[in-house]
């Protein structure tokens, strides 16, 4: 598991004892079976997480009562190497369709040795959840909002690093 301190990005690495194809297939086709159960948004218990196997596919949970709740979109579906999702849930657990307000999760599957796959996950742009779509489109170059926060965050982390 690793992460850089400069960017507000989450990076995780896990090495699994499984072939690349299998690791990719389980990650995408069986997501509901390994996804932490308490982390879902529907009102009734979650029975599955569906990743539609194509670029532009839906990413959603299915619940016991038959309802479906969208989480995001499959931006890149490239078996068995890579899958990228957009994550559209805001703080009210609502699905916000605007891509400009969604963060991104990229997962890469790298075959290391026979029977071993390195899974690298990167969750980025989560500052977009706090960005109004209009503002992002019209004022993207102006200092303010998250760009200001991120700049300060970067400085803070750098200062902390230097201080140690």
């Amino acid at each position: 598991m690793q992460q850089t301190k400069q960017d507000p990005v989450v990076r995780k690495i896990v090495v699994v004892n499984a072939e690349q194809e299998h690791a990719f297939a389980v990650f995408t086709n069986n997501m509901g079976q390994w996804w932490p159960k308490e982390h879902h948004i529907g009102g009734s218990p979650m029975v599955a997480v569906v990743v539609e196997p194509r670029n532009g596919g839906r990413w959603y949970e299915k619940d016991e009562d038959g309802s479906e709740c969208d989480w995001g979109t499959v931006l890149v579906y490239d078996p068995p190497r890579k899958v990228v999702f957009s994550w559209h849930l805001n703080g009210d657990f609502e699905f916000v369709p605007d891509r400009a307000r969604a963060s991104e999760v990229e997962v890469r599957f790298i075959s290391e040795h026979p029977g071993t796959t390195k899974v690298e996950l990167e969750h980025r742009h989560f500052e977009r959840h706090g960005e109004s779509g209009d503002r992002l489109r019209t004022e993207v170059d102006k200092p303010g909002g998250w760009s200001y926060v991120l700049e300060g965050y970067g400085k803070l982390m750098t200062a902390r690093d230097l201080g140690q």
Binding site: M1, Q3, P8, V9, V10, K12, V14, V16, N17, A18, E19, H22, A23, V26, F27, N30, Q33, W34, W35, P36, E38, H39, H40, I41, L89, N90, G91, D92, F93, E94, P114, G115, V119, L121, H123, F126, E127, H129, G130, S132, R135, P143, G144, G145, W146, S147, Y148, V149, L150, E151, G152, Y153, K155, L156
Partner: protein
Amino acid sequence: MANYPQSLIALADPTRLAVFERLGQGPAAVHEIAKGLPVSRPAVSQHLRVLKDANLVFDRQIGNRRIYQLNPAGIESIRAYFDQFWGDALESFKSFVENREPKKPIPSNATNKTRSSRPKNRRRKR
């Protein structure tokens, strides 16, 4: 999602987001923030309090003015939440995928069952 970070919850409200973005232009007092928004000053104060509790803004007393500004550390709570979440999720994925490996000969260490999911080599550094 369980325990979504307070900072994301705070920003889900459009007025609060507007207050937050106003502070992105620079530190300001309550009445200055309220000027550009269709809500009362007490309402702005209320929103500022939520943003403050979520660690997204902080305030300082300068003379007789209370000035609010963005807290650069605010985003850390969001990052920390996802960091923890993906750590748990990938550990769960690892133990699931390793128990679901199709019947293929594993080249080496075939007798080593990878059933236990708790890593032993976890050391705490101080």
